[in-house]
Symmetry: C2
Amino acid sequence: MKQTGKFSLALHTLGHMALDPTRPRTSEELAAMHGTHPVVVRRVLGPLRAAGILLSEKGHGGGWRLARPAEAVTLEEIYRALDEPFLTPIAFAPAPGHPCAIEAAMAGTVAAALTEAEAVIARHFAARSLADIARALPPAGSTGAAPGQNCQVSASPAPDSPL
Amino acid sequence: MKQTGKFSLALHTLGHMALDPTRPRTSEELAAMHGTHPVVVRRVLGPLRAAGILLSEKGHGGGWRLARPAEAVTLEEIYRALDEPFLTPIAFAPAPGHPCAIEAAMAGTVAAALTEAEAVIARHFAARSLADIARALPPAGSTGAAPGQNCQVSASPAPDSPL
DNA sequence: TATCACGCAACTTATATAGTTACATGAAGC
DNA sequence: GCTTCATGTAACTATATAAGTTGCGTGATA
């Protein structure tokens, strides 16, 4: 994950699971898809398991699976579970013992704008499920990757790699 | 500036200038108001000068002044001039030579949500001028600071201070 | 000409995120 | 039972960004 953020990793990997929910994916597999480290994948997906969106199993044949059908998982749930708001928690930090009516008024106006924007984002994500995204995928080949075979990592682990 | 951000510093200092546009303020004065360093103030206000919102003058009696009446400065202008978007530039960074239709679809959905939210914020700020904020200030004393004397720094430079 | 204040570059520090390593736990297969 | 596989978690390192700081140059005023 090269300065990418939790949300993009989550959407990317959950998207793959939604498109083919039958088999579980290992952290290693998902990490290779996204170009990051397996531990990072576990760190990001952990909260989604806690939120009841994913299941994880250890041992042979283990890995990550959707806990529910893709139709029943909205982007907003994912967004909330990750607790990584897009909106910079604008930092009006009035110095302690240093009250200022002007600063307070500015902070209020900014907070109002951010609250509005947050609501817009939440509404947008709440209206979209993982299945919606998967359904809207372009047909095979039009983006250089087949829909069922995107990020074909496990298919070709690079012949020169010792793995 | 304790992890505060450029925007809060800008709004705070411009708010003071809007409330009393007659005299210029030095970087040092503004820095003391906001609890930061004069150089930081210059760094933040510089782009506002470039945007035609502020004027700065050197030498005796110099400092920062509004380039226009407070009625003619919207918060949106300030927001844009600072180039510090509230919305985390969500980083879907598809690895080069690693196209993935799923990732692309997710990125598109997120981008749409962020674009909507940006518009909401811009509209909110565009509807408010510095004068609007100043006008809405509570009467003296209700917040522990008089409207014309908020952040009373220059008034009492602390008797024990050699400044 | 001395002082004041901005302009700017460079350096230091602080913080957050990502990446990595190491080890423990639990499940499946032999 | 033992080995292998996979997650769970803690701890450490590396890197990027923002803030804070120092120093020096420039222009304007007294």
